[in-house]
Symmetry: C2
Subunit: 112 residues, 2 copies
Amino acid sequence: MKQTIVARVDLGMGEGKLAAQVAHASLSAYEEADRRAQKRWKGDGQTKVVVKANGESQIFELAEKARAEGLAHAVVRDAGRTQLDAGTVTALGVGPADTEIVDKVTGDLSLY
Amino acid sequence: MKQTIVARVDLGMGEGKLAAQVAHASLSAYEEADRRAQKRWKGDGQTKVVVKANGESQIFELAEKARAEGLAHAVVRDAGRTQLDAGTVTALGVGPADTEIVDKVTGDLSLY
């Protein structure tokens, strides 16, 4: 089991900002997963991997792939209180789900 | 309402690693909160703030303060698969809870 969080590298977010957006994506995608997947993932050490996307369109493409695979996922938009304009797409959470299926969507992306 | 995640700055974690640890602390502290606090926080835009700690002892001190205030909180230890030794304390999630009470514990720390 794993969860992958895809975060935009092109926005130049500071590391605290990035971490908060990744946490938001992680929690939101987690809540989309069914209870069984949630429990299995937590029992399994709740592996999280953070990878890079180069822009908004890539985030949407990956979200569409996740949807097609039936994977729990969530796109995060920033509230715009600091650093970014309100509504800026910053990250995508995929899973928790079986590693193999998550990797079909995000397996080609580089580690952040 | 807010959630604060305190992360160690002295470990020299890479930004993806930091983000994953912060996400772990966020989710774990969230699950310690009662359902009413969870719902209010999410309805309120689930504000997350990431701040710095300088070492393990500061994390434990802050966790003890959070406990004394009756705040949901969770200390994260790394699984040790990459970068850090297994069991290394990396972060502390505090809340979600009323901003005023969270700030009693973490209000003096610098933004990450």
